[in-house]
Amino acid sequence: MTSPVFEPWNDPEAKPLIQFQNVTKRFGDFTAIDDLTIGIYEKEFFALLGPSGCGKTTMMRMLAGFETPTEGSIYLAGQDMAPVPPNKRATNMMFQSYALFPHLSIWENIAFGLKREGMAKPEISDRVNEMLRLTRLEKFASRKPHQISGGQRQRVALARSLAKKPKLLLLDEPLGALDKKLRQDTQFELMDIQEKTGTTFVIVTHDQEEAMTVASRVAVMDNGRIIQVATPDRIYETPNSVYVADFIGEVNIIDGIATPNGEESYSVAWKDGQAPLNVKSPSTFSDGQSCHLAIRPEKVTINAEKPTGADNVVEGKILDIAYLGNLSTYHVELPSGAVIKAQSANTRRISRRAFTWEDTVWLSWTATAGVLLAE
């Protein structure tokens, strides 16, 4: 039996759990969120990704109720949230600083929200123990927050925000304070917990790797606007703008002039003295329109001999090598002065590496390897 693919955003029947309708938020003269409309579906793991100051935290704080939209409205399960104060919302938030109550034990921290609900004592106890089990914190129940490690504190914060079974869990840079190794482990843990509990998660992050790892959909934001919303693979493979292509991962951006030369096929004239590039693109460009070719370094092949039969071939000299262990990124300077990055896996030991500085090499890529972008 194959499980159905989870893609409610492609289903016109599906109703989003959260709906932002033309939401604008201004702080004085500064516009933090600019006329934003978006739907987030139930059980989604939705990532808001962007540089600091792009408005992603403001969006989250509006969902939690700490900020109110200047214009437009936010609906949670069809209900307008504007008049609902934070303590009456079916959302819970995991704070960037974790905001654990230092005067309460781990157990009391997790029970805090349940007690406010007026839940019966034995039920609170059951629920807290369940949360402690879920986050593997049973041993630390009676400790105070300052007596446990950063990773454990992060799990307490998660347990506390999940304890009330919110319809929507907001995570504000939840893994920012953890070191890289712990962060990666925790990302998978988060995904596990999200799947187990079936809660809708909205995560705010500036770490593109984190967003790509955990999220079912990623919204790339800039200056209070959402530039693109798509699944991580689509964001990476088919960015809709240079901004998104550049923000996610490494990319070569080649500026040129497009000339159609067949169906969905263009010849792109770029630097003087270089042969035009052959590019396939589903989006249409008019003759002479300026365009940008975005191509990922790992889709550029580096060869010692001039390859035959490739769609695009350029010659250049190795300027720099970035050795990453498993991969190496080669910065290749073309005669025109342009630098193109090519990445290849280090399948051999470094002592037997085929290329070194100042070597003349040939770079090649297929017509479909890159994305042709208008802006």
Binding site: N87, N92, L100, P102, F112, K164
Partner: protein
Amino acid sequence: MMRRFTLIAIPYLWLLALFLVPFVIVFKISLSDVALARPPYTPHFDWAAGIWAFLSELDFENFVWLTQDDLYWKAYLSSLKIAVISTLLTLLVGYPMAYAMARAPQEWRATLMMLVILPFWTSFLIRVYAWMGILSNEGFLNQFLLWTGIISEPLTILNTNTAVYIGIVYTYLPFMILPIYAALERLDESLIEAAEDLGCSRLSAFWLVTIPLSKTGIIAGCFLVFIPVLGEFVIPSLLGGSDTLMIGKVLWEEFFSNRDWPVASAVAVVLLLLLIIPIVLFQRNQQKQQEAEQ
């Protein structure tokens, strides 16, 4: 090694010279008998008679006397009562002020802090005299209230316990505000948001998060007010009436009106012993706070 020893020795020498030696002198006087002489007590240490002859003349008679005349323990109790009540009043007035200061915009805080400390620039005695001018029957307060028509007869405030409470709250308010402000200023705003997010109203977030997290500040402030108020002398004697009974005032009268130095010294020694309890508790609170911060 020698250097380190010298450095550590300095505060101990200081303590010895400014606390221990005076205390021993006062303690010795409290064991002496009153005499019509100068200084007005006996015995005096005499090299010729020897140390044992000197010691044999000392006794605890003055301490026994303190238990026999009910003036003294009534004065201690009354001081205790006034100190407790005025500490609570100072807390009630000081906490909201500290809270407002900690919640004020960053650029205002230094100014507000300055305003709290500003009264210290004027002599304490002058400020208490100023309160006499405000609170007396023909004082500014009564004139103002008569002018607004709220009262038709001047209120008698000066020379009552009310005036003493006003004076104490006014004088010791900064000692309450500063430690509470320090605790509240460190309070992470996101803790309040987290409490609200988890279902607290503004008020319950205040009770469940803000108050417990400013507890050390509250305790420190209360001790800083309670300890000096217990032995306070100037405020009750200038603002209080004949029925205001405080041990500091009794002490003053024993020394200067009765010229009974030995009994006055005994009163002082007992007061000091009484104060050691809150001082030790205060130290423990400070220590706990430091541990919590680590």
